[in-house]
């Protein structure tokens, strides 16, 4: 620990203890429930893919049929593999087709039938988990043989054409221009679809649908470019929204390298049911942990909706909660791309010092996490010249505070989707600043007691206060103070009650005898 901010280790421990205290009841709640998407993700791990002629995925058709016959509170695995063991169909696909046609009935097996179904399910889901393991090994081997990104921060660039076949050449061009990480922005509204679209897609709204085939095509193209450039170019997408667990599974199967995955974003900003989100979160993070995927959390969003100075402590609080939930799900420190952003109004006096204080606080609280540093968006006005300067200061703060992943800011933010020249100028900005600053980070040490450490300590204090308020929140109806705090509008300005929001009808309290071989294998409990 570098200790540039003179943080009191007792307070840091207190902050983590509070995050644990606040998070634990949520974990308990997550363990007590399953969701349609967790169950469908299990089918995807078992190898079921494809869609009916209307585009409804077979995993949805099968899950809906089982739900109608046997309910989901015991999990899909027993009824589905019981039907296979009974010889209703030769494989999952045929079973899904028959289920969609209404020509097979599902039951909850017991006794020896249940044992046999469970064993069969475990074999088939286990094959999917092994494929994720193999993809992780492939990534490690490619990084070893081709080479890794030459230095940190990793340079993160976005493509967003809506058409996977346009995205690919753009992503390859961005990689050649210097990107270490390519993120494919998703189509607006995908987070609210309760199914994962199928196949290669060419029409998205302001982004490209996340599908298994799109993942595969882009990863294959970037593998080719990685070999050409002599460095492994990482691929990012979004495990968020109603299908978070399924998308996490597809990311593991298709060797994506980073996934946006926040514990509360969907609740606050997409009005997805809180319990659905926490259950889906836990499963998706277990998959990411297994797949060696780095998650990127979404704290930058708090700063775009609230004042970045006043709300600084909500970022810290969310980072602490994201860290707790991530580690509980099995993620290691190197997989925690905890998010934060350069969003203070440039007209605020000493805004650069405030940004430095906040960024250093994140760095020192989470010394082993890569940290995802997000550029200004809220105060990008369309004045591209001023925006370019702001991005330069953003890059400088990134260089001075050892950020792991730097999302490249565009001077045309809020004007157009980035042009080729915008991206080129933005990369010149990054390269100039990183090269000019060199290892300035190691020289840079604010005077003890000066503005920057004082501000960082203040934000940490506010964050502890907020965590205390959450933990003291009387767990009235829901059984967890954090849920009640979310219902009260403690985060952002949104009130999100645990019995409201989208996707609630896809949440089930697990019955005794619930079986999910994916969860068992991911948790290593059997």
């Amino acid at each position: 620990m570098t200790g540039k901010l003179d943080l009191d280790p007792v307070l840091v421990r207190r902050a983590r203890a509070l995050a644990r205290q606040v998070g634990r009841p949520i974990v308990k709640l997550a363990r007590q429930h399953t969701t349609v998407s967790v169950e469908r993700a299990t089918l995807r791990l078992a190898g079921l893919s494809g869609a009916d002629p209307d585009g409804t995925p077979w995993v949805n058709r099968l899950a809906d049929a089982v739900r109608a016959d046997a309910g989901l509170e015991h999990g899909l695995a027993l009824p589905v593999w019981d039907a296979l063991v009974r010889g209703e169909a030769e494989d999952l696909l045929v079973l899904a087709q028959k289920a969609a046609a209404g020509s097979v009935r599902f039951r909850l097996p017991d006794g020896r039938d249940a044992t046999r179904a469970q064993a069969a399910a475990r074999r088939q889901v286990g094959a999917g988990i092994r494929r994720i393991d193999a993809q992780r090994k492939t990534r490690e081997r490619l990084i070893r043989t081709i080479g890794d990104a030459p230095s940190q921060p990793w340079i993160y660039l976005i493509v967003a054409t809506g058409d996977i076949h346009e995205d690919i050449p753009q992503a390859q061009a961005a990689a050649r221009a210097g990107a270490d990480v390519i993120a494919v922005i998703r189509s607006t509204g995908q987070s609210l679809l309760d199914y994962v679209p199928e196949g290669a897609t060419r029409e998205g709204f302001a982004g490209t649908y996340a599908t298994q085939e799109n993942f595969r095509l882009m990863r294959a193209a970037l593998d080719e470019t990685s070999r050409e450039l002599g460095r492994y170019v990482r691929l990012t997408n979004y495990a968020s929204g109603l299908c978070m667990p399924e998308i996490a599974a597809l990311a593991g199967l298709e060797r994506l390298d980073m996934m946006l995955n926040d514990s509360m974003y969907g609740i606050l900003f997409r009005d997805i049911n809180p319990i659905r989100t926490f259950v889906d979160q836990r499963f998706s993070r277990q998959v990411h942990a297994r797949a060696g995927i780095v998650i990127n959390t979404g704290e930058d969003n708090y700063l775009t909706t609230a004042d970045a100075v006043e709300a600084a402590h909500t970022v810290t609080t969310s980072q602490l909660l994201n860290e707790f939930f991530a580690k509980e799900a099995g993620l290691a420190d190197w997989q925690l791309g905890l998010g934060h952003a350069f969003e203070i109004d440039p007209d605020v006096p000493s805004s650069l010092r405030l940004e430095l204080a906040h960024a250093l606080l994140a760095r020192e609280l989470f010394p082993k996490a890569p940290l995802k540093w997000m550029p200004p968006t809220k105060h990008m006005t369309g004045d591209v010249f001023r925006g370019y300067l702001l991005d330069g200061f953003f890059n400088l703060v990134g260089a001075l505070t050892g950020q792991g992943i730097l999302l490249v800011g565009m001077m045309t933010e809020a004007v157009v989707t980035p042009w080729l020249s915008d991206r080129d100028l933005a990369l010149q900005n990054v390269r100039y600043v990183l090269q000019a600053a060199g290892d300035l980070q190691s020289d840079f040490r604010p005077l003890p007691g000066s503005f920057i450490p004082a501000r960082a300590q203040h934000v940490l204090g506010e964050s502890i206060d907020l965590l205390e308020r959450i933990s003291e929140h009387a767990p009235s109806t829901s059984g967890a103070g954090l849920l009640d705090a979310i219902a009260d509008g403690t985060f952002g300005l949104m009130r999100r009650p645990p019995d409201g929001g989208r996707g609630l009808d896809g949440v089930f309290r697990k019955a005794p005898g619930y079986v999910n071989p994916a969860t068992d294998l991911l948790e290593g409990t059997s």
Partner: protein, 244 residues
């Protein structure tokens, strides 16, 4: 007002600066091509001050020079919106002073339309084009009913929530479904409410024509590119007019 030229550092110098990319490798010919383009834009003589290759197939240029065109502000025509654009703060303050309570907005996609992209872009706090949605406004209470809501359901929710405004999004336009659904919706609201009590009806979608409000029986039609602040500002404007 008299005719004007752009201003660099001397009245009448006409100086402008442009930047653009040509899809060709950097060379003397490429710089000449950039100057040619600038001259066609009216910049003469065009001074190519910067040319930078971006990969093997593209070159970026910055060009300065005097433009020979004049502008005449007296003949400029603009379409003025008939209500002022407000900030979130102003919207909140004016709702508070006009209604003395929160303004209730009920939103939905009606008919078989399952595309919530539009209604979510306007209502969700995440918003659209860097602008926060109506949920972000403290003085607005947003009830987003989501997709495939039937007209009777929408009316029932509007009554139950005591809606001040109803927002309907229509993306699918096959066989003019968006127009038929909108007419059905506005007729149902006219039937269910006396004119003075009827919520403000707003419909939006990428294929609507903004001049069709009267024909469709709604108070306002919003087309492609509408952002939440357009809608919020209009709501304030209309409710203030009603209250006065």
């Amino acid at each position: 007002m008299s005719l004007l030229r752009p201003y660099g550092d001397t009245t009448g110098d006409g100086m402008v600066q442009v930047s653009f990319t040509l899809p060709m490798a950097h060379s003397k010919v490429a710089e000449g091509a950039a100057a040619q383009l600038a001259e066609k834009m009216g910049i003469q003589p065009a001074l190519v001050v910067h040319a930078k290759p971006m990969g093997p197939d593209f070159t970026f240029f910055v060009v300065y020079g005097p433009v020979r065109h004049l502008v005449d502000p007296s003949v400029v025509e603009v379409v003025e919106r008939d209500y002022p654009l407000l900030t979130a703060k102003e919207v909140n303050a004016r709702v508070k002073s006009t209604l003395r309570r929160r303004l209730v907005v009920v939103g939905a996609c009606i008919g078989t339309d399952a595309h919530t992209v539009g209604i979510d872009a306007i209502l969700n706090i995440k918003g659209f084009a860097g602008e926060k949605g109506l949920e972000y406004y403290r003085e607005l209470k947003v009830v987003n009913l989501g997709a495939q809501v039937s007209v009777p359901d929408l009316v029932a929710h509007a009554i139950e929530e005591k809606a001040d405004a109803v927002l309907v999004s229509q993306v699918v336009t096959q066989r003019d479904a968006h127009l038929l659904n909108t007419r059905e919706m506005s007729a149902a609201f006219r039937e269910a409410f006396p004119p003075a009590r009827r919520p403000v009806l707003i419909v939006g979608g990428p294929r609507f024509d903004e001049s069709m409000a009267a024909e469709l029986g709604v108070d306002r039609v919003f087309a492609r590119g509408t952002t939440p602040v357009d809608v919020a500002s209009f709501l304030v404007h209309r409710l203030e007019k009603r209250a006065s």
